[in-house]
Symmetry: C2
Subunit: 322 residues, 2 copies
């Protein structure tokens, strides 16, 4: 929600001499992105985003993200395309930070997407999964199901301030999820954070998938379950089955789910709700009161988790087994 | 440095139906502007800035600012041009805030402008003064010299934490300034805040004057003295007479200064240094420690003030009486 590292006009001009993208015409810090400093850059050749990677990003992961975006763009997935300098280098340094320029994408996002947008976004996720089939990079999911028990333990009983008894309830829920976790589902490149603000639209058409900084190798159906949580609940906490039906139908129009993936959907949804509940609880506890970025309330995901624990069949998500 | 009022895609779309500027293609909060919420908006017809006016702006002043920008744009001064809706209305309401759309200008700024840029900026200020000659709006300068004694008094002795004895020294300086204040200089539309970050350039050419939210009727030479303070000191506090010579020469190439204006320059420079010292001191004292926007250190302007008090002639600013 802020620019952490300032870049002056002179610093920008010097930086751009390494590239063949022309002279800067305008340059503004933008408030998108919580973790990094982002600038919108217009040059004589087009529109770009300049990102300076701040402390929370592991610099060792950046080549994976850059290579993945380049791979996706080459395979027709509309996403920011890293721009190489005159020496073919994508990852550079600016003002003491790792930095990269990517292409700017038109489109806007909203937090309450329509069912038709859910369908388009499901289609886009599946296209990304398919396009990732021959991607050779590897990055494990540091926040996969094997990390959740430690994450819960690290929160201690601080969740009690939000709801009495929640620590024990979460432990019970987590035990149930891990006992039923499907280990042998098809795996590959996952976005792992495809929330509505990471998909740009013009009307109902997806114009871009952005923010690949949680991308990793994990099960594709788990990636879909993250979207079921992020796209299909209304602001009052109710589940919109019309949206989930469209989301999954859009996905399956590109990549049909196996019987095993479909059967696993309720457990996967419980798991992805648990993952975001736990990371939000952790941030809720550990974010200083005077931080520029206010943490999300973890209880939104607690509500989702409880919904999924009352559901036992894929049909409850509008998924028809054909 | 932030966006205070969020605008969703749906709220933007509804707002844009009042205008004839097409559909939104992209929309980003930008970090420019300390007082208001600013968004960069790209539509099918071009690039714009959407501003939502926050609490510190007096809504009653907005028609003056909007009419002034429209007047300047009509008279060939490159500045943001307010965009009227289908009913001819420029000032609208969005999410409980007064709001307006203006045209977006290319160009970048820096905090250490070259002498050539000083010349171009002086030329631009004079062009604005001349173009304002037939502008009919009126807004007094709420921060003119008559306001400084109260401002100093309101700071109490809080300045002592910055420099022992500064309260008494400032009172002496202020008395000297007010005793010599030139009351009969030519007056008209002034920008009153033309710092380097409010002038956009491509190379050495001015592409835009922005941020008219201190504009008022005051003496033109006082407006120029604000620029002498803001543009001609180096970051180490030293005065660069090459820059001031170019700034004033650029100004006089459009609007020659009278003998009375030239003679008043040292006193006017002391006054404008005092004005920014006092408002920065006030903000330094009154900004909460956890505020998103860090206040400027007032001592930069105390150093400038001391420079001007050692100077008695316009020649020390590189101004030749012809």
């Amino acid at each position: 929600m802020a620019v952490y590292t300032q870049v002056s006009e002179d610093e920008l001009s010097a930086f751009l001499t390494d590239y063949d993208i022309g002279q800067a015409l305008s340059f503004s810090g933008i408030t998108e992105g919580v973790e990094n400093s982002n600038y919108r850059l217009k040059t004589t050749t087009g529109d770009y985003i300049l990102t300076l990677y701040e402390k929370r990003v592991n610099v060792d992961d950046l080549p994976f993200f850059m290579n993945l975006m380049a791979h996706m763009a080459r395979h027709g997935v509309t996403c920011p395309e890293p721009v190489a300098d005159q020496h073919g280098t994508v990852l550079k340094t600016l003002n003491g930070r790792a930095a990269a320029i990517v292409t700017f994408l038109d489109g806007t996002s909203n937090n309450t997407p329509s069912a038709q947008r859910c369908r388009s976004a499901g289609h886009a996720l599946a296209s990304m999964h398919v396009a990732g089939g021959d991607f050779e990079g590897h990055r494990g999911n540091a926040l996969d199901h094997t990390a959740w028990a430690d994450l819960l333990a690290s929160c201690g009983d601080a969740g009690e301030a939000l709801k009495t008894g929640i620590t024990a309830m979460a432990a019970t829920r987590l035990h149930d999820i891990l006992s039923n976790w499907p280990e042998d589902l098809p795996r590959g490149v996952c976005h792992a954070d495809l929330f509505p603000d990471n998909v740009l639209f013009t009307g109902d058409d997806v114009t871009g998938i952005i923010d690949f900084y949680f991308a990793c190798i994990d099960s594709h159906a788990y990636d879909l379950s993250i979207m079921l949580n992020a796209w299909c609940f209304e602001s009052d906490g109710s589940f919109n089955i019309t949206k989930s039906r469209q989301l999954v139908a859009g996905y399956q129009s590109v990549r049909p789910l196996s019987e095993a993936e479909i059967s696993a959907i309720p457990t996967l949804c419980r798991g992805s709700a648990m993952r975001f509940f736990l990371t939000r609880l952790y941030d809720w506890i550990n974010t200083p009161k005077d931080a520029q970025v206010r943490p999300h309330n973890p209880m939104d995901y607690w509500t989702r988790l409880n919904f999924h624990h009352q559901v036992n069949t894929p049909e409850a998500y509008g998924i028809d087994r054909s």
